[in-house]
């Protein structure tokens, strides 16, 4: 990697100050994508602001009808949380299925959604549960937060503080892992929420995570796998690579959605 200045603030204020201290300043959460990128010399920040010392960004609470998770909470912490398991077990399963133990012990919710890898798991959960992202500047609905592959609505001086997940009636996540990377080739998160059924797909879309209106309409009437019979997902706009062509991914969206629905009960 290239040389850079390393900064590890202990408070959000200091982090924001560090973030605005130069042109090529980069935030680092768990670093699970950023560090490999640096090692391959694909990024050259002038300064790295490591958020791991900012205690106020960590933790899990239940607030009213929502589970609120701090941006710097690791996947392992979410996977082990009794509150999460009691309120949104689908999220427990999702967090437990990210990467491997090393990744889960370093990687964070905030890092994952800010990076918005098109095959990451968390974006599907935020979209399907109708989560709200709180930053130092504003609150954003998940639908407005994700803005295409590796792109979000975040501005340069904006840091994700926490994510509020409304507790659904039922929810489940089913992931078909790309066999080499174990990222989602297709991951489908289904949720029965107060506002109707929501279905979000990660891994498959050329523009990253997306919702499936046809599934949501059918499931809002009948939240069961059988409700999806006969609804085909078009291959247009889906990824094709050596691990699966677009038509395979389109097919898997239906298969994984049904498996998620069966798991959701």
């Amino acid at each position: 990697m290239y040389n850079f200045e390393y900064n590890r603030p202990a408070s959000l204020d200091d982090a924001l100050k560090a973030l605005s201290s130069g042109d090529e300043v980069k935030l680092m959460a768990g670093g699970m994508t950023l560090i490999p990128t640096l090692k391959q010399r694909l990024a050259q920040p002038s300064k790295l602001v490591d958020l791991s010392g900012v205690a106020e960004l960590k933790g899990i609470t239940v607030e009213g009808n929502a589970v609120v998770i701090g941006a710097m909470t690791t996947h392992a912490t979410v996977a082990a949380s009794a509150e999460v398991a009691a309120k949104i077990p689908a999220l427990t399963k999702l967090a437990h299925g990210i990467g491997d133990p090393q990744v889960r012990n370093r990687g964070t919710l905030g890092g994952s959604i800010s990076n918005n890898d098109p095959a990451a798991d968390y974006p599907a959960a935020l979209m399907a549960l109708g989560a709200t992202v709180t930053t130092n500047k504003r609150q954003l609905a998940a639908d407005d937060f994700f803005a295409g592959m590796f792109t979000t609505a975040l501005e340069e001086d904006e840091i994700v503080l926490k994510v509020s997940f409304p507790i659904p009636e039922k929810a489940a996540y089913a992931k078909f892992a790309q066999p080499a990377s174990r990222y989602a080739l297709v991951g489908v998160f289904v949720a029965k929420t107060a506002g109707g059924a929501r279905v979000a797909v990660t891994g498959a879309g050329e523009d990253g995570v997306f919702r499936v209106a046809a599934f949501e309409d059918a499931l809002s009437k009948n939240f069961s796998a059988a409700a999806l019979d006969g609804i085909a997902i078009p291959a247009e706009g889906l990824n094709s690579d050596i691990h699966g062509a677009a038509d395979y991914r389109a097919h898997l969206i239906g298969v994984m959605a049904k498996r998620a629905l069966q798991a959701a009960g």
């Binding site: 391959q40 010399r41 066999p179 080499a180 050596i242 691990h243 097919h251």
Partner: protein
């Protein structure tokens, strides 16, 4: 059997240091004044270098030197040599293009070496490398072996027209054609043996050091055969005589063949260490390993199997195109010929076999031996076509094999393709495997799976392989440019402890334990009193190294022979001390006694006398107790067995899950059953990897698409199943220890069992072919094509 002797599952002595992180690998070695090398590599599969300017880079901070191919040429260095020469059917020698460690003006695969930057730190070397200016004129590239011979294909070498390295044959083509023509039934198959990337856990590394005061060079390297590297690099590339060149291969974290070969980086750091007069370290990054470690397999084959009305095999004709990559790696030419075609009779009495192998150059990483080397390719072909023949003939898989097996009493068996199998019992192995796998209950399991919506299948592989790679006279007549014996030295210390020096190299195989067991067993001393040394040309007299499952079958026998010499000398000493005739001395359980009396001397008393020869037959015998033996066997070693794989396929996703894997193998005499089982585990895991997961993909421009673990799928624990393993051992008469190789059989026997199981599972749909690896989208697509989707899907 003693607790530490032959046949005991002694825990591996080496594991304490490996499991506690105290192994000493090449990258752990740091020499005083050490510098770091970074190698600038080609991003193009094929390009002319029109301009190479290192001037800005030379001025970068920390840079000590930058060398290019021209600098190496100016020192009149040789190219990386090929250790095996094949002749084409017309008698002409194979095309053998020059392979300079750094290219001069043309790159021929992504990863080809262009320049080396030597700097105080690795970061500085990388920074400087970014300042090297290279103007490439990209040229068209060819990556796929099946397309390399086409008339319009881009040419890799001017001296190899049509990209043909050699066009080799074995057997009588006219005879085989005639048998095929008159046959009751001919089964035809076309298949690909997929290219694999080895991915040893430890990446390659090399540290070169030059001592100006003595003129001695030392190379620390990740090698399976340090003496071979010393020979190849010293004699052919750098022109350094053996006594001035020490090669050390310390702990090595896996090789699987990829660390046999002499690589450019070894020559570069050794040569450059004298140029800069400081030690130089180079360690591959994982992404470098993908584009520089020799790959494996990569065959495209068409074959015909002729049968009579009873399914008796009459003739087998094979036409194979084998990818050599851009350059000939050390042993590449022998893999698709003498390690492949000589095995095409398999475990069957097929009387006539003919094979034609065309080796081709492509703009890809060189291809060479990878765990099994030629024998997995042969076994995959034979067992696929035999299984297909059984389906076409309407015969049970076991029954067709029974009708064609070489029977136990027919050994030694002369095949029509040169080899003489010394022993084996293919039928015995298969019958035992059928019982273990509950073959008779399979159809019930298939039905039960179908009720759950899954396709279940069972696949067979009954195989033999030729390993214990040795007989020097034989391999010499087949084109090897080296002998393939092995050396063992047994040094008995004054108090009776023993150090064994072996020319083989352990990089995961457990030699430090297995060889110590040989000594403990034969000399009757505790295993703790035995140490095994390998991997250093300054310590071990000589050796050809470890590959081709040869360490025990060849190197173990050399140690055994050295012990014979030790015992013979010790008996003379004992006879003197016991005042008896030498012929009356009996050596048993670590004690020398006079037959028929209670007079005896312990092993340690004899060794002490040898080194403190106060009372010693000094006029007849030298002091000391240390002996060396070289062993060159008269035949290969022929392990074999039966692998049965049971899979279930999920039609919704195309995912194949291995449900049961049963292997019954014949290893002759087993020294350490636990280590042997571990070798089978690893080999089967790699075989399942090849069959279901590992796809090495080059695009049309010769770019490696699967250049990292993000895209190249290595087998992991959750892809596997708990294996059911057993043995059916027939001691090897042609091996003095009765042993057979075991390191490669898992990777040789298993892939066809897995794919045959997949095809069996899908056979109700009329599917007769699935290529390796049987990935989920491939299987899903096959199901979809065979069974049009229902309207609701």
């Amino acid at each position: 059997m003693s607790a530490t002797g032959i046949g005991a599952s002694v825990r591996r002595k080496e594991d304490l240091r490996f499991l506690t992180g105290r192994g000493n690998y090449t990258d752990d070695i740091n020499r005083p004044g050490q510098t770091h090398a970074y190698i600038l590599r080609s991003p193009h599969a094929h390009a002319k270098i029109e301009r190479l300017d290192i001037s800005s880079a030379q001025a970068a901070p920390g840079v000590i030197a930058i060398f290019t191919g021209k600098d190496m040429a100016a020192d009149a260095l040789g190219g990386l040599p090929c250790g095996w020469q094949i002749h084409s059917r017309d008698g002409s020698p194979m095309k053998e293009p020059a392979h300079p460690p750094l290219v001069i003006d043309r790159v021929r695969h992504v990863g080809d070496q262009i320049a080396v930057v030597i700097a105080e730190t690795l970061g500085q070397a990388k920074d400087a490398a970014e300042l090297i200016e290279v103007d490439y004129a990209p040229l068209p590239a060819i990556a796929h072996p099946g397309k390399a011979l086409a008339s319009a294909a881009p040419q890799v070498w001017d001296e190899a027209p049509g990209n043909l390295c050699y066009d080799w044959v074995i057997g009588d083509e006219a005879e085989v054609d005639a048998a095929i023509k008159g046959a009751h039934h001919v089964t035809r198959i076309e298949l690909t043996n997929n290219r694999l990337i080895p991915n040893a856990m430890e990446p390659r590394a090399a540290v070169g050091e030059y001592d100006r005061s003595t003129g001695d060079y030392t190379l620390y390297t990740t090698s399976q055969n340090p003496h071979v590297i010393r020979l190849l690099m010293g004699a052919f590339v750098l022109h350094i005589p053996e006594h001035r060149l020490r090669v050390v291969a310390p702990d090595v974290g896996g090789g699987f063949g990829s660390k046999i070969y002499h690589y450019a980086e070894e020559a570069i750091v050794t040569w450059a260490s004298a140029k800069v007069n400081r030690p130089i370290k180079w360690t591959a990054e994982r992404s470098e390993s993908f584009i520089t470690d020799a790959h494996g397999r990569d065959h495209v084959t068409t074959a015909h199997l002729a049968m009579d009305k009873d399914g008796k095999f009459l003739a087998f004709k094979v036409e194979t195109i084998a990818n050599m990559g851009a350059y000939l790696s050390t042993f590449a030419p022998c893999v698709p010929t003498y390690l492949y075609a000589t095995l095409l009779a398999g475990v069957y009495t097929t009387p006539k076999v003919f094979a034609n192998v065309k080796a081709v150059f492509t703009h890809t990483v060189p291809v060479d031996a990878y765990r099994g080397a030629g024998r997995p390719e042969a076994t995959y072909l034979i067992e696929r076509i035999v299984s297909q023949a059984a389906r076409e003939m309407g015969l049970d898989q076991a029954e067709l094999r029974r009708r064609n097996f070489i029977k136990r009493e027919q050994f030694p068996y002369q095949t029509p393709v040169a080899l003489v199998y010394d022993s084996g019992d293919p039928g015995g192995c298969m019958e035992k495997a059928l019982k273990l796998a509950d073959y008779s209950g399979f159809e019930a399991r298939r039905k039960e799976a179908a009720a759950r919506g899954k396709y279940r299948g069972i696949g067979f592989s009954t195989y033999v392989e030729a390993c214990g790679i040795a007989p020097s006279a034989v391999v010499g007549s087949l084109g090897a440019r080296a002998g393939l014996y092995e050396c063992g030295q047994v040094r008995v210390h004054p108090t009776g402890s023993v150090t064994v020096f072996t020319g083989t190299h352990s990089h995961g195989q457990g030699h430090e334990t297995t060889f110590a067991q040989l000594v403990s067993d034969k000399l009757g001393i505790p295993i703790e009193n035995v140490d095994v040394v390998h991997g250093d040309t300054a310590k071990v007299p000589f050796g050809m190294g470890t590959y081709g499952s040869r360490s025990l079958a060849v190197g173990g026998v050399a140690i055994d022979r050295a012990m014979d010499k030790v015992i013979a000398k010790a008996k003379k000493i004992a006879a003197h001390l016991l005042e008896a005739a030498e012929a009356d001395i009996v050596f048993e359980n670590g004690e020398f006694s006079v037959a028929g009396t209670d007079r005896k001397k312990a092993f340690g008393e004899i060794s002490l006398a040898a080194y403190v020869p106060h009372n010693y037959p000094i006029t007849e015998l030298e002091p000391g107790l240390e002996e060396t033996a070289f062993f060159d066997p008269l035949n290969f070693s022929y392990p074999g067995g039966a692998h049965l794989c049971e899979v279930e396929i999920d039609p919704d996703t195309g995912v194949t899950q291995v449900i049961n894997f049963t292997a019954v193998d014949d290893f002759g005499r087993v020294i350490n059953p636990m280590i042997v089982e571990g070798q089978v585990h690893g080999g089967v895991a790699q075989g399942i990897g090849q069959a279901l997961l590992e796809a090495c993909v080059y695009d049309e421009e010769g770019q490696l698409i699967t250049g990292s673990f993000m895209d190249y799928t290595m087998p992991r624990a959750d892809n596997l199943v708990s294996f059911t393993l057993d043995t059916h051992n027939v001691p090897a008469p042609d091996n003095p220890l009765g042993v057979k190789g075991c390191g490669e059989v898992g990777a040789i026997g298993s892939p066809p069992a897995v794919i045959n199981a997949v095809i069996d599972a899908l056979s109700p749909l009329g599917i007769t072919d699935i290529s390796m690896p049987a990935t989920p989208p491939k299987v899903w697509q096959a199901i979809r094509s065979a069974r049009p989707p229902l309207a609701a899907e």
